[in-house]
């Protein structure tokens, strides 16, 4: 992506805040691992490597990586990031969340049709009055193929029950 990081490192003195946040997240994962495996019983097995040993190694490594990340953050070794637009991300995440929440009650077609429409909206197609019905019909066809013919267990809702 950017092989000329070293040039910028001399200009950029301030630590990279995002990198520090990543380091903190890594350390937090390590802490969670330490905490959780400490309650495990080292069962009297015949291997000296017990259920908690490997997780502990991983946690130590994560701490090491967190420290390394902090060092790079201060040296400004992290690559430049492109500006992100968060609007589209919100649309798509909303679509996935809607699908997750609606799946069991509204059934596969309605839930996934909404995901389809909101994803398209994330990419600029905002005519939801049109894309939602299109998505639902498309998903219903897919449901008929996969659940009807192939016996895949895709949750059925009011729409699907018309065909059962």
């Amino acid at each position: 992506m950017s092989r000329d990081n070293n040039k910028t490192s001399t200009e950029q003195r301030r630590p990279d805040r995002a990198a520090l946040a990543i380091a903190a997240a890594l350390a937090a994962i390590a802490a969670v691992i330490f905490l959780d495996v400490s309650r495990l019983r080292e069962m009297a097995g015949y291997s000296q490597v017990g259920p908690a040993t490997v997780p502990n190694w991983i946690a130590f490594a994560l701490i090491g990586l967190a420290i390394w990340t902090v060092v790079e953050a201060f040296r400004g070794d992290f690559p430049e990031r492109e500006k992100q637009q968060f609007g589209p991300v919100v649309w798509i995440v909303a679509g996935l969340a809607a699908q997750m929440l609606l799946l069991t009650t509204a059934g596969f077609s309605i839930a996934t049709g909404i995901l389809f429409a909101l994803t398209a909206a994330g990419f600029g197609k905002r005519k939801l009055w049109m894309t939602i019905p299109v998505g639902i019909v498309l998903c219903l066809v897919i449901w008929l193929i996969f659940a009807g013919l192939l016996q895949l267990s895709l949750p059925a809702g009011p729409l699907e029950h018309l065909f059962l």
Binding site: I33, Q48, V54, P79, Q85, Q99, L115, G124
Partner: protein
């Protein structure tokens, strides 16, 4: 020689027009279902097996072989075109394949995958037919300590897929390893990092992670770039077929991939994805175009795809000779065989030669049908990329979630899909490679369990790890793979190595 006669008989039976049609239907259905991210060959075969029950034994065996090969090939298509590997064994294909597709070389990438799969399938099926009994003896020598050594070798070699920063590559790997300890510890039955959530007791599903990190992470990342990028990817630049150079660079990779994949597939705990990792690393070491790795090197598609197919044929070695189902796919195939009256086991070749050779002949025919179906379709597949972004990505998410729901219709699983999708997005933004997370998730538990098993068997004697010659050799190889590049780098030739790998995106 009786073997040849049986094989010829089988081929003749399989080559009947009606049976060829069954093979074609099987391949088509298998590809159609296998294309879904999250639905790998195992689930494809499980779902479609009942379709074959209605036919006569020969016809159903042939259709079944077609479904099996189709299901396997379907995964590579989406990996290459859409960067959404649906199963663990096509993750490596996405690394180079998608870069090729982005550069307008999706045609050659798909072609080398299809032909490589065919070549590997052909060679591996013949190997299966003629040397299965010997291979299986070798495979049984592998015990926990040998597997542990193999996993160490795999860990060292996959670091070549880490991208341009050692720190970020290692961080990705260890995030994957951290996720890999979630769930019930298989050796003591205690639950780790599951926080009392029953859905976490079985650990994090590799396919869920792969689909989330690749398909959803990628979609979010592309969307967040806004209108900067072009609305469509340029689908074809240059020829849609493989050029003379493509052929020249592919054929050796196919053969090497086959040689790596087949024995690893034959090992009861080898796993198809390990072969693809090792093949990728090998190609990267041997290539004359190191600068292309990470930007769409054709060897990086040809080798792993061949390894994947060869190892699938390899899994049939323990299945047919010993009745050992060593993968989920094989376990389902075993159930299928029983339906045809086949009882896989050590006596199978002796008691039921017609059916075994019929199956092997069916695999050969299905393999051919796969090529027949897919080569003409390459042009059509590539057109997928010309679908305008909103519909393309809406469709990707539709099918990605369909695959996940089909495998496990649970709200929690969809929640994980969303969470890991966001993680994949954030990692892309900060230039962390994605593949090592999934690699860690796959290799972590394998390495840990094999280590603990070998120590338990030896009652805590650590020297057991190097006492077997095979394990010792593998560990030495791993040490060399780790040390040699360091020496090279120290001697100032490291530039090539660091440039070889580019970041995920």
């Amino acid at each position: 020689m009786a073997t040849f006669e049986f094989l010829l008989q089988g081929l003749l039976a399989a080559a009947q027009p009606l049976n060829l049609l069954y093979a074609l239907i099987g391949v088509t259905l298998g590809t159609a279902v296998g294309v879904l991210p999250g639905i790998g060959p195992a689930l494809t075969v499980a779902l479609l097996l009942p379709v074959t029950y209605r036919l006569d034994p020969t016809g159903s065996l042939i259709m079944f072989a077609g479904i099996y090969y189709g299901g396997m090939y379907g995964g590579s298509t989406t990996s290459i075109l859409l960067n959404t590997p649906g199963e663990s064994s096509s993750i490596v294909t996405a690394l180079e394949g998608n870069k090729m597709a982005r550069a307008g070389r999706g045609g050659p990438a798909l072609a080398t995958a299809a032909i490589g799969s065919f070549v590997a399938g052909l060679i591996a099926t013949l190997l299966l037919a003629f040397i299965a009994p010997y291979i299986v003896k070798l495979a049984l020598v592998f015990g926990p300590r040998e597997y542990f050594a193999l996993m160490v070798l795999a860990f060292v070699t996959v670091s070549s897929a880490f991208g341009d920063s050692t720190l970020r590559g290692l961080t990705s790997l260890f995030i994957g390893l951290a996720f890999s300890v979630v769930g019930i510890d298989q050796l003591t039955g205690q639950n780790r990092l599951s926080f009392g959530i029953p859905d976490l007791l079985d650990g994090i599903e590799v396919t869920t992670m792969a689909v989330a990190m690749f398909a959803i992470g990628e979609t979010l990342f592309i969307a967040a770039q806004g209108d900067k990028g072009p609305d469509k990817v340029e689908a074809v630049r240059g020829s849609i077929w493989m050029s003379a150079q493509d052929w020249a660079r592919s054929w050796k990779a196919w053969l090497r991939g086959t040689l790596i994949g087949f024995p690893i597939g034959a090992m009861p705990a080898g796993g198809a994805e390990i072969g693809t990792f090792l093949s990728y690393a090998t190609e990267k070491r041997l290539t004359r175009y190191p600068e292309e790795f990470g930007n769409g090197a054709i060897e990086g598609v040809a080798g792993p795809e061949a390894a994947n197919n060869a190892s699938a044929a390899g899994t049939l070695v323990p299945l047919l000779t010993l009745g050992l189902p060593t993968t989920a796919t094989a376990a389902i195939m075993l159930a299928g065989f029983q339906q045809y009256g086949l009882q896989p086991g050590p006596l199978l070749f002796a008691t039921n030669p017609q059916l075994v050779w019929g199956l092997i002949a069916s695999l050969l025919i299905a393999n051919l049908m796969l090529l027949v179906l897919n080569l003409p379709l390459v042009g059509l597949w590539v057109k997928l990329l010309t679908i305008p972004k909103p519909w393309l990505y809406a469709g990707i998410l539709l099918f990605a979630t369909l695959g996940t729901i089909g495998a496990n219709p649970s709200v929690f699983e969809l929640g994980m899909l969303l969470t890991f999708g966001l993680l994949g997005y954030v990692m892309r933004v900060f230039g962390y490679p994605i593949a090592p997370v999934v690699v860690g998730l796959i290799l972590g538990p394998l390495a840990e369990q094999q280590l603990r098993r070998s120590l338990a068997i030896s009652q805590g004697d650590v020297t057991t790890l190097v006492q077997s010659p095979i394990a010792a050799v593998l560990l030495v190889l791993a040490a060399l793979a780790l040390i040699v590049p360091l020496i090279l780098r120290a001697r100032g030739r490291g530039e090539v190595l660091s440039q070889m790998a580019a970041s995920e995106d």
